[in-house]
């Protein structure tokens, strides 16, 4: 009645439902009407073309940061540094965007590529340190986040501009923004980046599941010693996984730099795109399709939540709690699995 595969798909769905249910209970406890709250969330995310555009806009970087975390996790590496890789990608894309005057066909790909390379480089450092010296990747990526934050601010302030807190807007030839998309969605900030993000999900799926290299990466993730014994270079695969993961994260930065904002400003703290990517990857079970779906869910929740205070009086932070609970339920899949099996036995 329940194949293992079905259970694997059921777990995230049940977790999301349990998460939303808990959110409703919290709203009830604090004297809000949960139906009204969730209705506000729904209209805030899909109510009209503008909200839909904004939701899809938010989904775009989430897909990429989710892919970044997921890709590294498949090789057994926890890349907490996605946040920093997003920053360097953002800065690199904007830098190329403002510094050159080129025809679009060269300029835009160049800016996107710069972001990917910057992110890849930021992933390479923890990768090589892990591979060659055995330094824990978690701690190095945490440190790299801060370095990225301060370095980006410095570059924005003193390299790209003359002591300003914001760069100029990028040249239109490097922009992902589209009048057509904006026009269709009542001038939301939806941009072509969504296509890049979806394409990258395809790339990740193909790379991991259809190529020898992908097999090696996954194999190292399952068991380093066995992979080594089978003749694979563990350290090469570790570096490669971090580089590709970083490139995905860098692209997420490009989505913000070339698409949503079109500039980079001095930041006092992290954007959370990278940290939210961890949640996206976890809910998406580290698969490409899962990440896209999870990014869609989280994008919807985040944008929809903005509508909740005005319409239903519910603080937007409720959504953060719901997201956290969803992750806990996914993580505790052992419990859900056990309950499902219980039902299965009784059903017989």
């Amino acid at each position: 009645m329940f194949a293992n595969r079905t259970v694997n798909i059921l777990i995230p769905i049940i977790s999301v439902l349990l998460g939303l249910l808990s959110g409703a209970v919290i709203m009830l406890v604090f004297g809000y009407n949960p139906l009204k709250g969730y209705a506000a969330l729904w209209t805030g995310a899909f109510g009209d073309a503008y909200f839909l555009g904004e939701t899809l806009r938010q989904v775009t970087p989430y897909i990429l940061s989710g892919l970044a975390v997921a890709f590294a996790l498949r090789t057994g590496l926890l890349n907490i540094g996605v946040e920093g890789q997003v920053f360097v990608g953002w800065v690199a894309s904007v830098w190329v965007g403002v510094a050159f005057e080129l025809p679009m066909i060269i300029h835009l790909p160049l800016a996107v590529l710069a972001a990917a390379l910057a992110g890849a480089f930021w992933g390479f450092i923890p990768g090589i340190l892990k591979a060659k010296l055995g330094v824990h990747e978690v701690i190095v990526t945490i440190m790299m986040n801060y370095i990225a934050l301060y370095l980006s601010n410095e570059i924005v302030r003193n390299v790209i501009t003359d002591g300003k807190d914001r760069t100029d807007s990028i040249a239109p030839t490097a922009s992902l923004a589209s009048e057509w998309l904006a026009g269709m969605t009542y001038f939301s900030r939806l941009h072509w980046g969504l296509l890049i993000a979806l394409f990258m999900a395809l790339v990740m799926w193909f790379l991991l599941n259809k190529t020898t290299q992908g097999f090696e990466l996954r194999s190292v993730g399952f068991n380093q010693h066995a992979s080594n014994y089978a003749g694979m270079s563990v350290s090469k695969n570790i570096v490669l996984a971090m580089v590709i993961s970083g490139a995905f994260a860098g692209l997420a930065g490009a989505m913000e730099g070339l698409g949503t904002f079109g500039y980079m400003s001095v930041k006092s703290g992290f954007t959370n795109i990278g940290f939210d990517g961890i949640a996206v990857a976890l809910l998406g079970a580290n698969t490409a399709l899962g990440v896209v779906l999870a990014a869609f869910l989280f994008g919807t929740l985040k944008i929809g939540a903005l509508n909740m205070p005005t319409v239903a009086g519910v603080p937007t932070e409720l959504v953060e709690i719901v997201i956290a609970l969803i992750i806990i339920f996914v993580a505790s899949s052992y419990m859900i699995r056990w309950i499902i099996l219980r039902f299965k036995k009784e059903g017989k």
Binding site: I26, F30, L78, I80, I125, L129, L133, G134, V135, H136, V138, I139, V140, I142, M143, M144, N145, Y146, I147, Y150, L151, E154, S268, G269, F270, F275, I278, A279, L282, P315, E317, L318, V319, E320, I321, V322, I323, A324, L325, I327, I328, V330, A331, S332, S333, Y334, M335
Partner: protein, 319 residues
Amino acid sequence: MEFIDILARIIPPAIFFASPLIFTALGGVFSERSGIINIGLEGLMVMGAFVGIVFNLTFHEVFGDATPWVSIFVAMVVSAIFALVHAVASITFRADQVVSGVAINFLALGVGLFLTKQWYDKGQTDMVDRPFYTIDIPVLNKIPILGDLFFSGWYLTSYLAIILAFAAWFIIYKTPFGLRLRSVGEHPMAADTNGINVYAMRYVAVMISGALGGLGGSVYALTIALNFSHATIVGQGFMSLAAVIFGKWHPLGALGAAIFFGLAQSLSIVGSSLPLLEDVPQIFLLIAPYVLTILALAGFIGRAEAPKSLGEAYVKGNR
């Protein structure tokens, strides 16, 4: 400027920044020694900061001068209970410990900000009326040189942090409880065979880490931040985790690592007023702590051996 003057300007702020990290890192040591990864330290600090601030704001008239002390105690208790979420998920439900730790981080921030909006109707709380103040230790601060460096301008909580680090070392290495704690993290099955309740030990360890994380968060809030918002705890928990690993899962190592981070942070702030460092662009001082940490890990301490069963759920009867 004399050398001693320079030290006197660097050391007190270094300890000031380090204290919250010391508390939290000690919590991390307890949890990880029992075999439970605790990425949720950040969230535990957030919870501690939130509770510390709210309690301080609400009850400052009741407790008067004792308010900050009562606040950090309450924050400790609440965070210890909050850490149960991590314990239940990762020990009983065998959740991936990294995942449930990440969830703790999201949950703490979500709950903290939700309740802040709910109770104060805005994104951050007011400033507390009764934070901790620096003190000069009478008599001892008259000792030449040492008095200036170690006995004036410190917070009492900083002394507490350092004392706790030694206490933690004693508990982990010199008591039966500590032996059991370490054995559970190294080889849970062997520990179980010897009659140690693996689950109970791990629950206790995670709750201790919650208590110390809450202490760290509330001390940070009541000495440095003075209010609670989304920007109160931004990465200090992760820094503490780094201190745990940097310190090789040893309480005194974690203490040293946390002080090192504090020192680097203090340099980035007071550095511009010191000879030699005043001409260095601020960016280098800002990123110095993080670069130095990476270099230190890569060059000096090399491979750190984590507790053997770190990150593995213990399933009774599994081999």
